[in-house]
């Protein structure tokens, strides 16, 4: 079984935030009003944090894109009382909205702030990909467009794309990638099987210095950053 992971090259990242826009388009994530953003209530599947290093004359600002880290030892899965969030066999952490009771324990337990509570019901929007029509009869956790308020949401690594791609026999990582990887204009993001030594991500990790966020917590994130 493959173990999907993402590699983000911070050296190539230009901070255009196209990944965030692509994610919001692909998954119908509400963009959030300025008020919501002020109250920190917007839904973020993929967020971008701004980090400053140094003091005034010698200051550097970095933008670090942060999707869900899809940890190998996910604290959110341990604390979820309703089995609403679980780790698939391919390593993707999925949120199953039909099971979620909205206790918000996972938001408290997530070390990366990757989870958002859905405060308002969302309008149904047409799926923008005409080439891959949505299967409404599916009882899979894939939520779109039947999301309601009162549940917790998170990044899915676009597993609907991966699943469809695997069914069609396409190559994951080159032909089929998550929306954020597809949208990246500077090719800073790579997606693939971390267990496969021949995949592009494994080759990159073997050749470059890399780090993960908050490694000291032992969550083993599968989103890995290449250093600048």
């Amino acid at each position: 079984m493959s173990r999907w992971g993402m590699v983000i090259d911070l050296d190539k990242c230009v901070g255009c935030q196209a990944c965030i826009v692509a994610c919001k388009m692909e998954n119908n994530v509400p963009h959030g009003s300025p008020e919501e953003q002020k109250l920190k209530r917007e839904v973020n599947w993929h967020k971008m944090i701004t980090v400053t290093k140094g003091k005034y004359p010698y200051v550097r600002t970095e933008l670090i894109p942060m999707p869900c880290m899809h940890c190998d030892h996910p604290p959110c899965v341990t604390v979820c009382p309703a089995k609403a969030t679980f780790r698939r066999r391919d390593g993707i952490i999925v949120q199953y909205y039909r099971r979620c009771i909205g206790c918000k324990y996972c938001i408290v337990a997530c070390p990366y702030g990757a989870r958002s509570f859905n405060f308002t019901s969302q309008e149904e929007k047409p799926y923008h990909r005409k080439d891959e029509p949505l299967d409404n009869n599916s009882w899979e956790p894939w939520p779109f467009p039947t999301r309601t308020q009162g549940v917790v949401e998170k990044c899915t690594f676009c597993f609907h794309r991966i699943d469809k791609g695997l069914k069609k026999g396409k190559k994951i990582g080159t032909e089929v990638v998550p929306a954020c990887v597809e949208a990246c204009p500077s090719h800073a993001r790579f997606f693939g099987d971390l267990d496969d030594p021949k995949s592009e991500v494994s080759k990159l990790l073997a050749s470059r210095n890399s780090f993960r966020l908050r490694e000291e917590l032992g969550t083993k994130p599968k989103v890995i950053y290449l250093t600048r």
Binding site: V43, I49, T50, K104, Q149
Partner: protein, 399 residues
């Protein structure tokens, strides 16, 4: 001396007005719940940064009060101290009501309360590694045990009541320590993460439970013109003083562990950030320092007034302690990277006190008080008026 219990008549004007006012407040519950359910939890003060607010604060507070009340009730039914017998039934009854209240709080706090039954499908639909799921076993068992306990006490079966009471007290300890573990096991939140948290919760439960019993006993006995023995209040206050001292040590050790090593940002935020007053004024000031002074100072420690004021300050202070855990615990931004974060959620979150959340919590509190007042009317909870009546009988509002 065999104590006999009776109901209150509930025919006075004061009693009826109280019931009506509480009834109106309970009706507000339905209204405010519908608003927050239909509109979504955006009408509350919570955000993605501070996902738990007022209702969870009340929830752990009420569980603490309940566990404290049950543990105090054991003094009369398990340890057979006759001094505490007049308040024994009341303590168990309060334990049940407060637990029911806590369950209401946590149920209402859920985003989809209609799916709460999933928590009780043990091992099938729920994930038993979650503290919430483990606690759901504790809570159900606790309520059942307390009902059996109260029934046995009403039946007068003292032998069995002692056995069930012992189990119930141990269970109450487990319940509240489990509630502490909800917070204590979260490794990424510095203020929460502590192996001592369950014990701290237990001691805070004991202090607040004892204080609430002192206050309720003094109030109900006064309003129903019953005599309360001063010895009872003073022995409770002695227990209270000792528990507050142990709580102080626990809080000190907990905060010292967090402040000693250089990664102390979150604890410094708790001490000096936006919510410093929750910690210093409520948790330390009202919850620990003021009652300790009042209960140690020779002029106030043997007066009823001094004891009741210190009990009140503990009840308020421990509520502040719960809030000082829940809100600053998540308000402090998480260090995603070891540099200053400016963008999304670099700054601490702000929790706003909003109308609907406050109304919801107040109405659940009044629901519990209403059940208590009705319980006094229909159940034999208070001891008979055979003791010497209070001299100021005309003062009594409720008969």
């Amino acid at each position: 001396m065999e104590l006999k219990y009776s109901t209150i008549e509930g025919k006075s004007k004061g009693y009826k007005t109280l019931v009506v006012i509480l009834g109106i407040m309970v009706a507000m519950f339905i209204f405010s719940f519908l608003i927050s359910y239909l509109k979504g939890q955006k009408v509350w003060g919570i955000s993605n940064m501070i996902p738990w607010g007022q209702l969870i604060t009340f929830y752990i507070y009420f569980i603490g009060l309940s566990a404290g009340a049950i543990i105090i009730s054991s003094l009369s039914y398990v340890f057979k101290k006759e001094t505490f017998e007049p308040i024994g039934r009341m303590a168990v009854f309060m334990g049940i009501l407060l637990m029911v209240g806590a369950m209401f709080f946590v149920l209402v706090d859920l985003g989809r309360p209609e799916k709460a039954w999933r928590l009780f499908m043990y091992f099938y639909f729920n994930n038993m590694s979650s503290m919430f799921a483990i606690n759901s076993i504790f809570y159900t068992g606790y309520i059942i045990l307390m009902l059996i306990y109260l029934w046995l006490i009403f039946e007068g079966n003292k032998k069995l009541a002692a056995i069930v009471g012992t189990i119930d007290v141990l269970w109450a300890i487990a319940v509240h320590m489990g509630t502490g573990a909800i917070f204590g096991l979260i490794g990424n939140r510095e203020i929460f993460f502590s192996p001592i948290k369950p014990f701290e919760f237990l001691l805070a439960a004991l202090t607040s439970g004892t204080s609430l019993i002192i206050i309720t006993a003094a109030a109900t006995f006064k309003f129903t013109s019953r005599m309360i023995e001063e010895e009872l209040i003073f022995s409770l206050s002695k227990i209270l003083k000792i528990i507050i001292l142990i709580l102080l040590i626990m809080v000190f050790v907990d905060k010292l562990t967090h402040i000693y090593f250089p990664n102390r940002d979150a604890t410094l935020y708790l001490f000096t950030g936006d919510y410093w007053w929750l910690f210093w004024v409520f948790q330390i000031g009202l919850g620990i320092v003021l009652p300790l002074i009042l209960l140690s100072y020779s002029k106030t420690k043997r007066t009823k007034k001094g004891v009741i004021i210190s009990a009140l300050s503990v009840v308020i202070g421990v509520f502040g302690e719960r809030a000082a855990l829940v809100i600053p615990g998540t308000a402090h931004p998480q260090p995603f990277v070891s540099a200053k974060i400016e963008g999304i959620w670099g700054e601490p979150g702000i929790f706003k006190i909003t109308l609907w959340e406050t109304l919801l919590s107040l109405s659940i509190v009044s629901f519990i008080i209403l059940l208590f007042v009705l319980g006094l009317r229909f159940l034999e909870i208070l001891p008979n008026q055979t003791n010497e009546p209070v001299s100021a009988k005309t003062n009594s509002i409720i008969k």
